[in-house]
Structure formats: C-alpha cells, structure tokens
C-alpha cells in the first residue's frame, strides 16, 4: 500500500511564557492582564493585533501586564510609579527566560 499526501495544513499555537503557569493552574483569572482583563494572548484595548506589537511587561515583583496597559498607568501621577497589584515601586524586570523551554543550548 502506498499513501500519497495530497495536501496538509500546518497549525501553530502560541502563548506568552509568563513563567508562572504552574502557579495559575485552576485560576480562571490567571491568564488575563490585571488592568484590562483581556487574556495575555489577546491585545490591550488600544491595539488591534496581538503578538509582538502588543507585548507583555514583567515587573521585578513578578507581576505581568500588557506593556501598553502598564505604561499608561505608570504614566499617571496617581500611580506613584507603583505596581497596580502590590503597590511596590515598579521595576521592569528582564524577560525571565525559562531555560528548559525557551533557550537553545549555547555552545
């Protein structure tokens, strides 16, 4: 018997690696931006296309938001430059790359 593949569809799925997937298991609110309440994989209310043009931003405090949502808040005097979740001074963290899933082995 010979199988001939006539055509095929590639399907890809993407997800931001927020680094705290385990902690959010079972929490329905876990995967939404705390400011606009839209899923991280969606985009902030000011954008039309999700993905690299509407990235996430990480704080040293470990909280994650859509970058546009967070910057809009931090830009107001009322924010006192604090994280909206824990009121600690907002310090943008370097993207935490999970070695097991993301980084290619370096020579």
């Amino acid at each position: 018997m010979k199988v001939v593949v006539k055509n095929w569809h590639a399907i890809a799925q993407w997800k931001w690696d927020t680094g705290n997937n385990d902690a959010d298991d079972g929490d329905v609110e876990g995967d939404v931006c705390g400011i606009c309440r839209v899923p991280y994989e969606g985009c902030c209310p000011s954008c039309k296309v999700p993905g690299d043009d509407c990235p996430l931003i990480w704080g040293e405090c470990s909280h994650v938001f859509h970058m546009h949502c967070l910057l809009k808040w931090i830009g107001t005097a009322a924010s006192k430059q604090q994280c909206p979740m824990d009121r600690r001074p907002w310090v943008t963290a370097e993207r935490k790359v999970d070695a097991t899933t993301n980084s290619a082995p370096t020579p």
Binding site: V28, G34, I35, C36, R37, V38, P45, S46, C69, K72, W73, T76, A78, P84, M85, R87
Partner: protein
C-alpha cells in the same frame, strides 16, 4: 471616542454575573453602560444587616486608569459617608488601582459598612456616636435600614414630610 473603557466594563459585568461576590449586585443601565446601579446588602452581624442600600456608579472614559464616582442613593448613617451619599474611601481616591473592577469596588464598600473608619469622618455625628454611644449609633443606622427598603420616591416623600430619621 474611546471604547477601551466600555470593553472593560463589559468584562466587569461578565465577571460580576458569572462569579458574583456575596451580598452585592450591580448592572449597567440598559441605555448607558457608563452608568451603573448597584445594591449592597447590609452585612450580617452589623447594624446594617438586612439593609438594601442602592448606589450609583458613574464611569468616564478614563476608567480603569481612574476610579468611577460612587454615590449612595439610599440615605446612609455611616462615619465615612457624606450627607449627599458620597463616600470617603481611600481606594476610590488616592489608593485607586486599575486592577480593581466593579466587584472589587462593591465588596470594599461592603466591608466599609462592617468596619467604619472613625478617624477620617465624612459624617462627624456618626463617627462620634460610633466611638462614644454605640447604642444610639445602632439605632440611627437601623432607621436607615428600614428606609432602604422603600423605593426612592417614597424616601423622597419621607424627607419632604420632615421625617429625616432623627426622630424615632
């Protein structure tokens, strides 16, 4: 005109409907999503128990960067509620965070009924009675609980008749 705020309010409404916190309810006006009516049930084991206190929340386009204005429509006797129904509550002023939603606002107000803060009084008389004469405080609050069951027109009529709740 920005729709960001409306989109967020729809999400707030969805959350409030699917996962409602106990003792509060709220919904946007059918013809204006920027205007919400809400009810807070007086928490058990407080003088406010069994009250159905109506509020109105007014949002503008800057929500959730800025908080809504929140006002009691029902007459209140509470150390942190002004005579016009406006509240003195830090999270609606200088401690606002854009992560709060309508559910969070309503539950915060509910807990304010539970734990008044007599140090920043909006109603000096209520604050004083709360500190010094609990029995009279409870009596005055109970009067507002009974009034809260009337609809707004009836409450208005009671005010016109000169019954401001001070007389028992």
């Amino acid at each position: 005109m920005s729709t960001n705020c409306r989109r967020r309010l729809i999400r707030d409404f969805k959350r409030l409907s699917t996962d409602p916190p106990g003792g509060v309810s709220g919904s946007p006006c059918p013809d204006n999503i920027m205007l919400w009516n809400a009810v807070i049930f007086g928490p058990a084991d407080t003088p406010f128990e069994d009250g159905t206190f109506k509020l109105i929340l007014t949002f503008d386009e800057s929500y959730p960067t800025k908080p809504p204005t929140v006002k009691f429509l029902s007459r209140m006797f509470h150390p942190n509620v002004y005579a016009n129904g406006e509240l003195c509550l830090d999270i609606l002023q200088n401690r606002w965070s854009p992560t709060y939603d309508v559910a969070a606002i309503l539950t915060s107000i509910q807990s304010l009924l539970h734990d008044p803060n007599p140090n920043s009084p909006a109603n000096a008389e209520a604050a004083q009675l709360y500190r010094e004469n609990m029995k009279e405080y409870v009596r005055r609050v109970r009067a507002t609980v009974e009034e809260s069951w009337l609809d707004p027109d009836e409450q208005e009529k009671m005010k016109e008749d000169g019954e401001d709740g001070n007389a028992s």
